[in-house]
């Protein structure tokens, strides 16, 4: 079994050969891929690598290739949210995180597949077709950042960026057996991230190991004056890479082991918690009583915001345009033909929830529930350092199994969406297998206390070997 290629491994390879060779080897691998994780490879990737070889670079990610989700704007490189409606749209500017990555010397390898506009849990709703799980190509990789997780799991990229609105980084990380972090809201600038539900989402890193997550956070996190919700706060994430959880208090919310949880997932999670006990931490069962309302609140808020965020896609300025007799006709045909079914469903539901007469009953009520969910977390995290539970209630399901049943698909987000409502950070790390598929352990922390969950995740990784197993496709 070969070890994962992590950032330091890549840097050694570059030192031994060149950035160009490393990038070329990834591009070659992507060319042979069977998982449809990349939507496009950047034509600039090799040039960037060559420049780094020629001129040298002091950045922490010099020459390190990275995959970027289709909804993060990259100057000169098509960014479509895996939707027909943005077909051909090439952003004239870089997202804040892309600027940071370029400064750090990273090589933007290409863009990764996702559920259309990040609306999904399986990456099946993409205009470019589904991405397949490298552990079993008949199964979904999770979503919506399915491409970003799958390409890291199958070693088509060492690291990637996704975005997490209701679990979209953590779910595919869990399903693909990699590490994924959803930072505190405000931690990473959203400038350049194409909005789905802006009050909930954060860009998040994916990698094969916790150290790489910290290294990536050290590059992309931080204040940006172009995002009014960005918080000005200095932090070094790599400082948290300590194998020490002695005395750490863990809260285990009973609600995260509710109806519909796979017994094998449940077992893997409790085994992981036992590992933490062995490592010197203590745990107690706790309750987050408003969890049962979180899903409804989340979907109402997310769909309401989406109905407005996606209004700009009307065929007037960029992307796909249908023919019409007049502007209104053109705009409605563009939207009818350009959006997929799930996106339309959410726009319609969101429009309904914000309409006069229903606004208070749905949208306003959802905001009130959100406040209660936040209080749940604040209260629970007064007494414990972190919360732990399964990231997803089941292992990755089969392609086509749930896509026709939106409600059951929504229900699989039950353990991830409350975290976005509360705005707290959460990391998913591999903690075992169920039916041959990876299981993710979710570690949730206090606002801006990424370092504690990184330390917990790192310690777990140091004391277990789940993360060293690689999917059959890569072997």
């Amino acid at each position: 079994m070969t070890a994962w290629t992590d950032i330091s491994g890549i840097r050694h390879k570059i030192a031994d050969s060149s950035a160009e060779e490393v990038t070329a080897s990834y591009i070659e691998k992507i060319g042979k891929s069977r998982i449809n994780g990349f939507t496009r490879v950047s034509e600039e990737a090799l040039n960037t690598a060559r420049e780094i070889d020629a001129n040298g670079h002091n950045g922490p990610l010099a020459g390190v290739p990275i995959a970027i989700k289709e909804n993060i704007s990259t100057k000169g490189l098509s960014t479509t949210c895996s939707s027909k409606i943005l077909e051909g749209y090439v952003p004239p500017y870089d997202a804040h995180v892309i600027e940071k990555l370029k400064e750090a010397g990273a090589v933007i390898l290409g863009k990764t597949n996702m559920d259309e506009f990040a609306m999904g849990t399986s990456t099946e709703s993409s205009y470019y077709g589904p991405t397949f799980n490298p552990w079993d190509i008949e199964r979904v990789p999770g979503g919506s950042s399915g491409g970003s997780a799958a390409v890291v799991a199958s070693d088509e990229a060492p690291i990637s960026l996704g975005s997490d609105t209701g679990g979209s980084v953590r779910c595919p990380a869990a399903f693909c057996g990699v590490v994924g972090l959803k930072p505190t809201y405000g931690c990473i600038s959203r400038y350049g991230l194409i909005s789905y539900a802006n009050s909930l989402e954060q860009i998040g890193p994916l990698a094969t190991n916790v150290a790489d997550i910290a290294a990536l956070m050290d590059v992309v996190a931080g204040y940006d004056n172009r995002d009014s919700t960005s918080i000005n706060r200095e932090n070094n994430y790599s400082d948290a890479l300590e194998d020490d959880v002695k005395g750490m208090k863990i809260g285990v919310p009973e609600e995260y082991f509710g109806e519909g949880i796979d017994t094998r997932v449940e077992k893997a999670t409790w085994d992981a918690i036992s590992n933490f006990e062995d490592m010197g931490a203590t745990y107690e069962k706790i309750s987050l009583p408003y969890t049962k309302y979180a899903l409804a609140s989340y979907y109402i808020i997310a769909m309401s915001e989406a109905s407005s965020n996606l209004a700009r896609f009307d065929g007037t300025r960029y992307g796909f345009r249908a023919n019409g007799d007049n502007w209104h006709d053109m705009a409605s045909k563009t939207r009818a033909e350009g959006f997929g079914d799930e996106v339309k469903r959410r726009i319609l539901l969101g429009t309904y929830a914000l309409s006069a007469g229903y606004h208070d009953k749905y949208y306003l009520k959802a905001l009130k529930v959100r406040t209660l969910v936040k209080k749940d977390f604040n209260k629970a995290l007064e007494n414990v350092d972190v919360l732990m539970g399964p990231t997803m209630p089941t292992p990755a399901f089969r392609i086509g199994e749930k896509i026709e049943d939106p409600l059951s698909l929504y229900l699989s987000d039950i353990n991830t969406v409350p975290i976005n409502l509360a705005g707290v950070p959460s990391i998913s790390v591999p903690c075992g297998f169920a039916d041959g598929m990876p299981v993710g352990l979710q570690i949730i922390g206090k606002h801006f206390d990424e370092n504690t969950i990184i330390r917990a995740a790192y310690s777990f990784e140091q004391n277990t070997d789940h993360h060293t197993r690689r999917p059959p496709e890569v072997e």
Partner: protein
């Protein structure tokens, strides 16, 4: 006298003011100086609403908004917030307008206007901040146009929407309200009202306590008065014929001077307002005291001071304080010559000549008007010559003294004697009557008066001849 308002007219106005004196737009760093530029050259990802772009509030715009709120005697909210107003239109790049909803930055104010029956209070319901959309430009005339182009240079400009209470009782009062608003905004130096689209008006009007009708697309103050006159007449006629006024939105067709129905209440948009998640609530209360310090003396206060300090009549003081530039011009003049004379010359004569030529006070200098006033009060030229000099300066340029010399406007001795003769006649009606009644001796009395007035510079025989000639007229 109390204005009866016989038709029960109620008018409320919504005025959009573009704060074009800000250097940058409301949510991005694009320059506001686009008026002479090629289309779509003052744009960026934010004001084009490109996917992934985010708004950041212009702090100076917040300051300007507070300033306007204070000048309109509003209370400033503790914490303000932005909302999204969702609707589809090609000039709206995001598919929603970022505006304010239930926490406008300012509200509950009032201003005083010159009403039908003297001073009249108009309530200000609210003043809120929002972004301007782009502009549609049709190729050729709108009905035969082959296509529509969109210019986003205007997109994202800062607007303040000032909403009044329905306190105006006639189109004239509406006009006066607009004039007063413009005057106050000019004083605040927050916008250049002469730039295209700097002030846009929507009017709400009802008669006899009926439903209100909104009239949109009014592009000038004169247009507002005309649109309202037409709309009031239309509503009255409709009721007279047994009709009923229902809530609707009408469009003012400036060329034909009529209003046309756009949509009824049932067809009104549901804007689905909700808080803008990309902008955090903004605490403004702490900024108020500092902004208050920067408030200039406003028109009403300046008028009072002019009356007190310069002894001006109400009408002069009002006329001289409506425009800040005129007020400043006047004060400079008044510091050099008699303030009351200055008021007459600046307010009545100079402003009249400027208005006739559609010019502003910038077309004349303080130095020139002071020179003219001094020539007149020094008895060197006649008032008529003074007016002639003003006209010449405006039409052909030149300095007053040069014009006096060129045109030979200086009073010569003849003029002095003639003036004295005129005055002697006017001031001594009894002597005149006696002379005309046959008392030749009375003429000597009048000659004495002329000699007195000219300080003996006149020739007595000449004075006598001139008196006789004048009395014969």
């Amino acid at each position: 006298m109390v204005y009866e308002n016989p038709d029960g007219v109620k008018i409320g106005l919504e005025v959009h003011v573009q704060l074009n004196k800000l250097n940058t737009k409301l949510f991005c760093c694009c320059s506001t100086d686009y008026h002479d530029s090629e289309p779509n050259t003052h744009v960026c990802p934010v004001c084009l609403g490109l996917p992934g772009s985010l708004p950041v509030i212009n702090e100076k715009a917040v300051e300007f908004a507070i300033k306007i709120g204070l000048a309109l005697n509003c209370s400033i909210v503790e914490q303000t917030q932005f909302h999204r107003k969702n609707y589809y239109y090609p000039d709206l790049p995001k598919g929603f307008q970022t505006t304010q909803y239930d926490y406008p930055i300012a509200g509950n104010g009032k201003i005083i206007i010159e009403g039908e029956d003297g001073e009249h209070l108009v309530g200000i319901t609210r003043a809120h901040m929002e972004e301007d959309p782009g502009r549609l430009q049709h190729i050729g005339s709108i009905d035969r146009s082959k296509g529509t182009l969109i210019n986003y240079n205007r997109s994202g400009m800062t607007l303040i929407e000032i909403v009044s209470e329905p306190d105006m009782r006639s189109p004239k009062e509406a006009r006066r309200y607009l004039d007063k608003l413009r005057s106050i905004l000019d004083y605040l130096d927050v916008f250049d009202g002469d730039l295209e689209g700097a002030m846009r008006v929507d009017a709400n009007v009802s008669v006899f306590g009926g439903e209100r009708v909104e009239v949109k697309n009014i592009s000038s103050f004169k247009g507002a008065e005309r649109a309202l006159l037409y709309e009031i007449m239309r509503q009255k006629n409709h009721i007279r014929r047994g009709g009923e006024i229902t809530m609707e939105t009408r469009h003012f067709d400036e060329a034909r001077g009529v209003t046309i129905s756009m949509r009824t209440k049932e067809e009104e948009h549901d804007y689905r307002y909700f808080p803008e998640p990309d902008l955090v609530p903004l605490r403004v209360a702490d900024r108020v005291p500092k902004v208050r310090e920067t408030l200039p003396e406003l028109p009403d206060a300046k008028k009072e001071r002019f009356m007190k300090e310069y002894g001006l009549a109400d009408t002069h003081a009002r006329a001289l304080t409506t425009e800040i530039k005129v007020a400043e011009f006047y004060e400079e003049v008044a510091s050099k010559v008699d303030p009351k004379t200055a008021a007459v010359w600046v307010s009545d004569i100079l402003k009249g000549e400027l208005n006739y030529r559609d010019l502003t006070i910038d077309a004349f200098t303080v130095e020139d008007i002071v020179a003219i006033i001094e020539l007149i009060t020094g008895n060197k030229i006649t008032e008529q010559s003074g007016i002639e000099i003003i006209r010449t300066v405006l039409d052909h340029g030149g300095r007053p003294m040069d014009i006096v010399n060129e045109k030979g406007l200086l009073k010569v001795e003849d003029d002095i004697v003639a003036t004295a003769v005129e005055e002697a006649i006017n001031e001594n009606p009894e002597a005149v009557a006696d002379y005309l009644g046959g008392k030749e001796k009375s003429l000597n009395f009048l000659v004495g008066k002329v000699m007195q007035k000219t300080k003996g510079r006149a020739d007595a025989r000449e004075a006598r001849e001139k008196l006789i000639a004048k009395l014969k007229e």
